[in-house]
């Protein structure tokens, strides 16, 4: 799986620490402080202009004290009442339509999604999760942005405010109510989505009995049969059967395999092929830190480029001292697994990208070596294990605990792993002038698989988090704006959130083509991004305006949620477990946004005459 940015450990992320990065919590507090001070100042200035200094000071003071006392007196019962109202309203506004749309999408999805790809599950999961995300976000948007303005318009809000509810209750209650509606929809969609994926992937084969040939051992005894299955779902499997007619091995094709059992007798077999196994997985990788050695064996920041436009992986040269070295951390007895013979082993998985500078022997793969090393004592290392790389797929290494350093027998945990649990894995390419390419997540310690269903649910939590955010933004915006404007505002927030990286790059000048005005000028005058602009007053003026806009963009970027970071679709699609700390981070971020937006929503609603 391509993992360009590995998620940080939760506490590091929250409090900061590594590399001088400021933690999420201090950053949140700073932003809250800045916004609060700004809001106070603006409020004070407005009041100053309208009522003079004394009253302005008094008003500001009262707003703050009232605000805090009201927020403190927020009542769960009232919030729940408002939430129930929001739920009822939503169902009256036929949110159920979203479900119909979702079922129609699933109904027709089979037309466009075949299963003849090398990774069919990946495609189906991507599709289902993406469709769910868009639908749920759209419903969240429509519900949240239009409800309060509709209440204002239909004067229902007057009925509500005659009851003893506070502005804060209304905002929070709405958010909660719509979240409940969204959660119900999301739950239904995810249930049927999962069913759709499992149902679409399900298939079986038959054994081609006429093609079965007997397998004999060196003594001429029949030890089983070999053959293949019928072609179903665009593929077939090679298989080997034991003498009893049950499968001993079924080749993995398109990331899955089957089991063959003999429902008849050994003489008159009746083969039954099971459904697919292996499509749905949640591998739990424990990644390490990657460093490179160049062809002379000296440390290098990266391997070399073989000219690929995509620079995710860099390469090491074969037949030289170049190597990729991973430092794994926290290795202990609990990471070992036991095989059928009762021997313990350390399960490592490695993804290798092979690059050939000449074709060489076409039918032979490129050879490499893997060895383990003690990071504190590089002389303490295991002998090289030679392997032929399976390009762009997972190479599995079950490293036994009993290893050799030359002739000397060594123990994996005692000799190679340091006391604090560190271990180095050194991978080299052996064939001259051929290359291996690696990125950091390409080698990992494979911990026992997690439940794929739970992983899927975690991905739904990712969607849920995005939904809650949209609802919070929508409700807050709708406290002061009318429906369509609130919707546009929220849509812009979502769009900017999805393209946050680009937005920040424009603001910081990393994106070629200049700021917003310059880009507009280039578009209209059909100048490409690289063409220089004339030195004139107009250009200078444009750049000044851009500078101001860029500063505004940078400030906005501080509070913009990064929607892409919430998405955990890729993990499920590629069959990797979603790290819990990522879920925790997403939930924490959402809680912070909801909290902040509630406060803003409260003050905004207070400015409306009706809610005072």
């Amino acid at each position: 799986m391509v993992l360009e940015k590995a998620p940080l450990d939760f506490l590091t992320w929250l409090l900061g620490g590594t590399g001088g990065e400021i933690g999420a919590l201090p950053r949140f507090l700073i932003i809250v402080l800045v916004i609060a001070v700004l809001a106070l100042l603006v409020g004070f200035v407005i009041a100053l202009v309208r009522y003079g200094p004394m009253k302005a000071g008094d008003l500001t003071y009262r707003v703050i004290t009232n605000g805090f006392s009201e927020l403190a007196r927020t009542s769960p019962r009232r919030i729940w009442a408002i939430a129930r109202l929001a739920v009822k309203e939503s169902f009256r506004r036929r949110v159920i339509v979203a479900l119909v749309v979702f079922f129609l999408i699933l109904l027709f999805a089979g037309w466009f999604l075949k299963t003849d790809y090398p990774q069919p599950a990946k495609l189906l999961f991507s599709f289902v999760l993406t469709a769910t995300t868009y639908l749920v976000l759209m419903i969240a948007l429509l519900l949240s942005a239009f409800s309060l303005p509709a209440d204002f318009k239909s004067k229902i809000i007057y009925t509500i405010v005659t009851k003893p509810v506070r502005a804060g209750d209304i905002v929070l209650g709405r958010i909660l109510g719509y979240t409940i509606v969204g959660t119900i929809l999301l739950a239904i969609m995810s249930f049927f989505g999962y069913l759709f994926v499992v149902r679409t992937l399900y298939h079986t084969h038959e054994v081609e009995v006429a093609r079965l040939v007997e397998v004999v051992d060196s003594d001429g005894n029949v030890v089983g049969k070999a053959g293949r299955t019928t072609l179903n779902d665009y593929h077939r499997h090679e298989l080997e059967l034991g003498v009893d007619g049950n499968s001993t091995e079924v080749q993995t094709t398109n990331e899955h395999t089957h089991k063959v059992t003999n429902a008849g007798t050994p003489e008159q077999p009746r083969y039954v092929v099971s459904g697919p196994a292996g499509f749905l997985r949640a591998r739990v990788p424990q990644y390490g830190q990657l460093k490179f050695l160049d062809r002379r064996g000296a440390p290098a920041p990266r391997g070399i480029s073989v000219g690929n436009e995509w620079t995710y992986r860099s390469f090491i040269e074969g037949g030289s001292a170049a190597a990729a070295v991973w430092l794994l951390d926290g290795i202990n007895t609990s990471d070992l697994r036991t095989n059928e013979q009762g021997e313990k082993y350390l399960p490592l998985e490695l993804i290798v990208r092979v690059f050939r500078t000449y074709k060489g022997e076409i039918e032979q793969g490129i050879q490499g070596s893997i060895r383990l090393r003690n990071p504190d004592n590089p002389d303490m290392k295991s002998n090289e294990d030679i392997f032929t790389a399976k390009d762009a797929s997972i190479n599995t290494f079950d490293i036994p605990t009993k290893l050799y350093n030359g002739q000397e027998e060594i123990d994996l945990l005692k000799d190679l792993v340091t006391k604090d649990g560190r271990l180095e894995v050194v991978v080299q390419c052996l064939d001259n002038a051929q290359y291996y390419g690696f990125a950091q997540p390409d080698l990992y310690l494979r911990l026992p698989d997690a439940s794929p269903l739970w992983n899927y649910i975690k991905a739904q939590i990712g969607i849920w988090v995005q939904m809650v955010l949209v609802i919070a933004i929508g409700v807050t915006a709708s406290t002061v704006l009318n429906g369509p404007v609130a919707m546009l505002f929220t849509v812009s927030f979502i769009l900017l959130g999805f393209f946050k990286e680009f937005f920040v790059n424009v603001a910081t000048g990393k994106q070629v083509g200049g700021g917003p005005i310059e880009s507009l000028v280039r578009l209209v005058t059909q100048k490409n991004q690289m063409t220089g602009l004339d030195d004139g007053f107009a250009v200078q003026l444009m750049q000044w305006i851009d500078w101001v806009l860029k500063q505004a963009m940078l400030s906005l970027a501080q509070v913009l949620p990064d929607f892409r970071a919430f998405s955990t679709v890729d993990y499920v699609a590629y069959g990797f477990n979603i790290p819990s700390n990522q879920i925790a981070q997403n939930l924490a971020v959402t809680a912070a946004y909801v909290l902040g937006l509630c406060v803003i929503g409260y003050f905004c609603l207070r400015t409306r005459e009706v809610a005072k």
């Binding site: 129609l104 109904l107 037309w111 495609l123 779902d233 995509w310 790389a389």
Partner: protein
Amino acid sequence: MSERRSFYRKVAYGMAIAVLLFPLALLSSPASINDEGGKLARLRNDPDHPLSQASLGQIDPASETMKLATLGLRGVAVNLLWEKANYYKKTEDWTNLTATLEQLAKLQPNFITFWKFQAWNLTYNVSVEFDHFEDRYAFVRRGIEFLKEGEQYNRDNPHLLWDLGWFIGQKIGRADEHVQYRRLFRNDEDFHPDLTPDERDNWLVGKTWYLAGVDAVDNKGKSMGRKSPRIFYSSPAMSQMNYAEAIEEEGYFDKARRAWIKAQEEWEDFGRLPIEHSTGVVLRLGEQPKLEEEVKQLNAKLEATSPGLKEELVEEKRAKLTPAEREALDTPQDKRSMAQMELAYPAAAKLEVTPRELAERIGETEPAKAKQALQLAGEVERETLRLRYTINYKTDSNYDYWHTRAKLEQTADAIAAREAMFRASRTFREGDPFGAKQLYDEGFAKWRKVLDAFPAAVESESSTGDDLIQYILQYRNVLDQLDEELGESFPLWDVIERFDSEQKLQEELTAHQQRISGAKPDANPARPADSADAPANESIEASDANK
């Protein structure tokens, strides 16, 4: 009250639409490998009622739905998807790339360039990203299947049909991995379950697609667009030759002989085929001798209209030459000085009498014959032009070489020579250099006979010459093991002189040339490329004399 009724009506319509979509989904579901799809999909594939896009317009429901779903923003959607496809290709996400291409195909099913471009992408660019040859083959095949899907949407499109022929023939048959690809293709019964293993040769399968393309143009009124008719029509026969060549390489000599006989017939059929030149003149490549004869006869007829007049004209033109030019022309070619050589060629051109000049002069001297003469001159000019175009097209498609090659390869000597080469190579691999040498010697002797019988086979650029160089290089390896060298008795020195473009046999050639000229070894031997002119000719004569 009426407001409520109108609302209920709308709800009823909505419900009806939603309910109707379910049977629609079942009726229109596209065919897949496991089931034959809905009613419409079955009708589409029914040979009696072909409901393809080409015959009935856009009716693929999946494609239509997708186009409608974009709400008129198909262009934008297509743009986004192309971008995505490029991104997935960059990030080596092949599953998403192929899925995106499928979606694009639904959005622009009748955009021919899309099919060609993306099928090429899969077959040529994506396949090489994999390290294992079976994975590579899987993507070569996927590209071909993608193109076939395009052909389904655009039935009888000559471009797609021709490309299918090309991909199946050239990509599988000419890649570095062609040995493996051809083997996989032959064993790929899922790809062509209806063919026998013998018929599953990539060149033969490619040929059937080329022929389907030719049929679409000839019998179904489809246009081949800007594709050169010379290449378009020669492809099936070339595919047959490639097939013959390939199976010969694999050691099936009897079958290869039959294949070459068929190739000759097909090549001659191609020679009889009317092909439109870019100027609109219709040519037949096999008609060169006939055209030459016609031009000769017409010229004679024109000259006979007024006997002796042409010579008079020549004399007049000669009189207008400068004395130096006349002297240059009168000097025998091998005795001309450099200055004379420079003068002689343009002077000779000045003496040329064109048919029109002759006809005009006839008109002046004998007005009664003017019309006939002009008419004849026009015919000569027309036929000469046709002859020139024919020769050009023949040269471009190497027509004569392939014709000779097809005739040559089916002879008993050629088959024996090829077989000897094949066996020699195998014997050498099996560790018997003596046996290999003997087989090579026999084989090269046979080759000499073949080349003497068909000198045209090695007259100009030819793959026969290149093949022979490869054999000679293998032979040299054998000799190296036996501590021997290419001797004077080696019968194919002329081939080395002409075709060793990479100069791998340069040392041997220099030694050979010194031996036959009796000169001492040269410290800076001439490069064979330089020896392509005069010295090479001399040595050919010398080696001929040697035999």
